[in-house]
Symmetry: D3
Subunit: 238 residues, 6 copies
């Protein structure tokens, strides 16, 4: 029995609210249950130094948590003067994942920065960020088309992510914080809507996991992500 | 004529939403028109080193803006490795102002940190943060009473803040961004609900201001703040 | 009775020594009683990135205290690797105030940096820095004229600053450290020699202050600043 | 055909040289072909703050590259004042992986730090570091036993790691730099000598990968890691 | 012919002004010609962590230059967020040199920090800092005796420093900036008043120097330092 | 009697291994007994900002120690976010010394960075780094010739360094760690193969040293360095 009463293959209630704030070219509030993340996509007419003059664009991501998004207050990274290792790891994962959604050649010399800021955390913030960030990214790409800066959207495919894990011996999908902190194995799976894997990160927290468990988790992940693609599609107006 | 069509003495639509997030002891979404700030109050059972062993408590504040809370994306302070001068100046103002609301002796050896994170900016973020932060602070103080850690709330008085300025020669209250960026003088006024001033910060942006203009702005500020105290009172359940 | 025996409207002994060091285009030692600050003005033939190509100049300020300018040694900010919040707040105030003295269009693409380094502190370092920094600034502007880089000085007006406060219930001018650390209210007033306000920053340290007290402090401030303008004029040979 | 002429399931020449330097409790030079990493294990009689008083030990890792371990010189992280995102990500992975080798309760209040410093890079530095670091860790645990600070070694199982990938459509094991920079998919697999997975990190660099490719890579990884366990066993004297 | 018209063995005009500022336990303005350095000595009742509980004291030094102590403005180290390499090198030299003056066992668990802040630079700031810093140190040691915290001063010997160099082929003493920037060799010599060397740092700027030149410089240095000891003695009322 | 059994004028066993790693233009492992330092020379086709457009080249150096190159583990400078004072001092010395070996005009607009990374420390790391770094530098200069980027090598002279000291009253050469930590005086001498001094840095650790001791140390240093030049010559193939 999961603490929330959910079935093993049952994700939390998931919502995507577009145009959540007004300044960004894409702005989405994503909620995976009590996990709430603001994802904004910002367009700039330039690329980082390592890409200058190559005619290609770039997608990057930054991640942060409000100090009191968690059960006890975390020190503010801006005040401590550096981003922690977990933050760096997560924002690199989000950036890599979302780059897979876009044809960077077709994007031209634009940079799109996806900012993912957690306002309330209850497990799965990185998978929520990728799933919501992809919708913000689509809005930003469409903005470029609408503004006449691109002829067609360089979107190649949708990308979404979900966590799976082994909780008390059973594979489960979309772990919340009480499950996450107790799970033997925790795995984040990022896929495209055409069925390929973008990234798999599975970590045994205590006992190593075996091939059967891996297979079980991947099966749940694929089902869960299919549902996320439907929710993204709904949010984007079908 | 103000860009928003408001009268000189007319503040924006102001709302305070308590319990906006679930982890903090106090959590308030404050909206001054399109300016939206999440204010959380976090209680800790210890005080900073300079107060240890003195039996008194401490109130402090931190301020941040999401990178895309503004018209163009600002670099994330955590990524740049330091808080900017404006951030430091604002969070020190919020901390000083809210300390005036509480009897620090009666608070005992607790620290309450008010985090003010701007998710959408349209002028007046610091006055919104003080006004909303005070309500989050009240909730945190009441939490300490409910938990039995304090017998009565050490709240001395409510504190609220509003901006006033000289816009095209006329004193106006609660400036939004289009007014703020053009105003000749900008002044932030922080008061108590017993009618005293906590802090006055008036800055001439171009032409110096004179005593008459100062008097006109202070009159508007007092009226505007009275309205804020009513809204705070409503939010706290009358 | 004030600790120093001064009358409420009596500033400390104030001196301005020009050409205090030999390298800077303007160099002034300002003394407000035992408070001693070295103010230098340095001219550069370029402007910060945000102003490039606009034909306008810039005035900025930096502030520091020698580690043992105070009663107990403060850690050196260069060794700690960052400027503290109070330092940042003060140097922003000095910069804003002195920009009001100059026609930045007429200054052309020059930057003048005012460095204010406190070698001995006894209260009122920021008001001393503004008052002395304005004289160093005048010298630097005259240097530009003398060198033939500007036809006439772009000085618009002199700027000076004084602190006022409520000490044991009475408004007083130009607080020294023993008064400052005990005052109920502390206010810094920056004005032009044409009678306008550049900036007012008043802070209640304990009890809030009321309109009558504000009026009393402003009256003292105006008198005190008039005297500062006379001292500046004398120093400039005038 | 692989650039090195190796068969798809053929790892590079792998050597482990124990006692490579003389000060550390464990010191191993690990070579995966031209990739050379110095792994040292350092024992301290204390644990990080978050573990104090719990009677458990801790294993942590740090990773660095000499500036000219690579084809073009990289800026020294110590000179730039921060560790890059890739460094942080890798050292967190090494630490997590090696913690799985040890019974932290049985280790008692000791910290073992595994420093992995790359002196020559040719792909696969993180898998070399984990594989060599585990041997340095074993030596450090045996040191604690020899010194009488522990009765028996708290080693639970050996841990080793290898990279696999899809190179020009074919799964291959232990990628060198020319393969790594061109591979469609890159996956790091960390396993125990009892056959369980500690961590799987697979990333599609261009085209997403599918279940069949994943299965192919995992099969190669298991074979490759078995060979690593044999080499570790040899190095440790059988 | 030296630019200043001095003879090769003629130091600049040297003055030591005690009690230059009022807060520090020792405060000396040292002038070597146009080089002016404020040296303060601050006493604390504790020692750095590496000395705790050993019953010995510590002498340390910090060095800084006001941004416009030099011909063109240098960036403020506090604003840049780190001390430069030259600053670090100099303050370590000052600290080592002045530790030689004191019996650290007899000092007991006190730390004395010598802050050397250059307000005007014209060559030889480090030798001026050592020479003036030693006098400030003596005053701080006498303060400890006067306060009854030590029975007798733990001063072992006076320490002073002078620069020598090869300027246009001739050894000269106490180089000013025009000489220093052109000299072939620059050497700083730190000695005790009992005739021993504390530190010798000689650097060839262009052409290497030979034994004869070294001997010539050391002869000048010894003469020059004898004069400094006389000036120190005078200043101390001796 | 020296702890190692060496005679006073006997250096340790010294070896220079060229081409130690494969990516750098020069790569040397230098061993002074148990002290082992990897020195790489990296060529770049640009110069630092202060030299741009002047047609001259630049030689610079960076120094680091692996955390467990020493008896107890030192914190990693990259993780602490800054290079320590000793590191800064040493790398500036190496850079100054090696610049003396090269005709910077003839080098043209190239920068050569010498990275000296200590993998095992037993005293004398800075003298080993200079001696080995000079050989790496020669290889890098020859690389520029071989590549046709320079017509002839801009090498002016070889540079080498050795430490000398007063150990239990007797001058000795090439101190190892047990001697170094006990020596009364420690001096680093850097010379050219034409017999001139590049730098002399002598420091009394306890008792000041006198002219006779200085002379004795310099005599030993000259002999020791002559031997180093022979070893460099051998390594470079005669």
């Amino acid at each position: 029995m999961r603490p929330s009463g959910r079935k093993p293959d049952q994700p939390r209630n998931i919502t995507l609210t577009r145009n959540f704030t007004r300044h960004a070219e894409g702005s989405v509030l994503v909620e995976f249950g009590d996990t709430r993340v603001i994802c904004t996509a910002s367009v700039e007419n330039r690329v980082p130094p390592f890409l200058r003059g190559e005619g290609r664009g770039w997608i990057t991501a930054e991640y942060g948590m409000l100090p009191r998004s968690t059960g006890s207050r975390m020190g503010r990274e801006a005040a401590r003067g550096k981003q922690g290792g977990r933050t760096v790891e997560i924002q690199r994962l989000i950036g890599r994942s979302l780059r897979a959604a876009v044809d960077l050649e077709a994007l031209g010399e634009h940079t799109i920065t996806i900012d993912c800021d957690v306002i309330q955390a209850d497990g799965g913030t990185r998978t929520a960020a990728i799933t919501g960030g992809c919708v913000a990214l689509v809005d930003a790409l469409n903005f470029l088309v609408k503004e006449g800066r691109l002829k067609t959207s360089p979107l190649k495919q949708m990308v979404a992510a979900v966590s799976v894990g082994i909780y008390r011996g059973t594979p489960v999908v979309d772990l919340d914080y009480p499950e996450d902190s107790e799970a033997e194995t925790d795995m984040n799976v990022i896929m495209t809507d055409q069925g390929g894997f973008i990234e798999i990160q599975g970590t045994a927290e205590g006992v190593p996991f075996v091939q059967d468990e891996l297979d079980g988790m991947l099966t749940l992940a694929k089902q869960g992500i299919d549902r996320l693609f439907a929710i993204q599609k709904d949010a984007l107006g079908g």
